[in-house]
Subunit: 285 residues, 2 copies
């Protein structure tokens, strides 16, 4: 198995969430991390032009922009709510284009408020993506449908497995709609290898972090540094590579302890673990 | 859609976990609940013969015995650990036979301690079930593989979707190994309808409780009374019925608030909600 070299490492800025974009970009430059995954709130703080200038002057590639989506928050009979959600997604697409991001990550949204209808929510997601495709295609932005772990199905993302994300993406042209593979969300799936293979040509982002046991009280924050948990990154990375993905690999960690650590320490650990586990294809310890 | 009548209601005793078996049986009789799901620790307290006499004199059917499984706790190279786990499962099979339980529920176990190898854990589960099949067949006990929600994959059950459970059960005779459908664990699955259909003839237990949002700190306890959460029970029940399941439907709720409530109140709510949501096929409120 060929590892994934450090030249493909990207730091998702959520991993150092207390830093603004300029500080996060400087951190990447300082630690020889060639790419960064950006979040829209941090882009907004300095404006799109400022963000573009900042990442360019730091010599960074933008591997993804997080995030569009949340297509189900408005009820089906609330056209104003849906229009507002779509307008926000159109703005996200423009930002992704301006930043030259490899993908705009879509977190699709949970059940429609007051509804138990998973099918309705899933149809609303497909409809909304369909409305965004022409603009994304025109601007050269790839939309990445990210399946979230099934524990977030009710309130954050009704797309709860990679297979479902691939089925959804397949409704649209491959150069516009793809999928995001995040180890934290999909590692448990017995069908993972075959679904990654089926996603060939559609993988627009590969994100890594570990699943630590036990889960913390806030299940959104139960992610660990690569190597600190139970995920076997070797086979997943090999499958993603075999499916033709050769882009950046983002380390994205939501974890209160990681956020409390000094950013330089976090960046050093990210780099070290990436080299040991993803490049070296072995686990520490 | 034909509802599921109250004559098919079973109370899993975990829902009133602070009651011993005799008190739980009396509770069912008092509330006109015709069946009960038992737990082995509560059976052990009064002995198998005492448990059999108790449920018989209360006029109760035993819809399931919880539980066997945890086949992965011992490392592959620990034959004593594996032998002990198998011996405990053999005792569970004898108890299920003595009680006339419709199924022995298997919670298969998480990753092998110290290992990240999901495939190894899954093979150990299949191997262990294979070793139990002859005894179960001889004693007329059906083993029910219960897929647990993927958030328990690391530490409790590597069988994380119904499709996987069906694939596993299909390795063995249908009269000995089936699957347990628990709404809490499988509701999120976009493939649920087709997997339930594929489970036709293999469903040995149907358990219901609701998914409440947000999840509590202890994710084991995030279950609510039927109707208190986001699960749409109608389509799932219809699919289970269409797959040929006509047995008891167990209400099994792990929830600290439910446990703190008076048992008679809990039983009354269980019965009322079952009638409104599962029999009437509509949601309250």
């Amino acid at each position: 198995v060929t590892g994934i070299g450090l030249d493909r490492l990207s730091l998702n800025q959520a991993t150092v969430r207390h830093l603004g974009l300029a500080d996060a970009a400087a951190l990447c430059a300082r630690h020889d991390i060639p790419a960064i995954g950006l979040w829209r709130d941090r882009v907004a703080e300095i404006g799109l032009a400022g963000a573009v200038a900042t990442v360019r002057s730091a010599g960074l590639h933008v591997s993804s922009l997080c995030r569009g989506g949340f297509f189900t928050r408005a009820a089906a009979e609330d056209p104003d709510g849906r229009a507002a959600a779509l307008a926000d997604n159109r703005a996200a697409i423009r930002e992704a284009a301006g930043l030259g991001a490899d993908a705009l990550v879509l977190v699709c949204g949970g059940l429609v408020p007051g509804s138990r209808d998973l099918g309705l929510a899933r149809r609303m997601v497909a409809d909304a993506i369909g409305e965004l495709v022409p603009q994304a295609q025109r601007l050269g932005v790839r939309l990445g449908v990210e399946p979230l772990h099934p524990m977030f199905c009710a309130d954050r993302c009704v797309i709860a497995s990679l297979g479902e994300a691939v089925d959804l993406a397949a409704l649209f042209p491959a150069d516009v709609v793809g999928v995001v593979v995040d180890t934290y969300h999909v590692w448990w799936d017995a069908r993972l290898a075959e679904e990654i293979a089926r996603a060939a040509g559609r993988i627009v982002s590969y994100q890594v972090c570990d699943w630590v046991v036990p889960l913390p009280a806030d299940t959104l924050l139960g992610r660990g540094h690569v190597g600190d948990g139970v995920i076997d990154f070797g086979p997943i990375s090999a499958a993603v590579t075999a499916a033709g993905y050769g882009g950046y690999v983002e380390v994205e960690i939501f974890n209160a302890d990681v956020w409390a650590a000094p950013a330089d320490q976090t960046a050093a650990t990210v780099r070290e673990r990436f080299g040991a586990v993803l490049d070296g294809s072995h686990h520490p310890g």
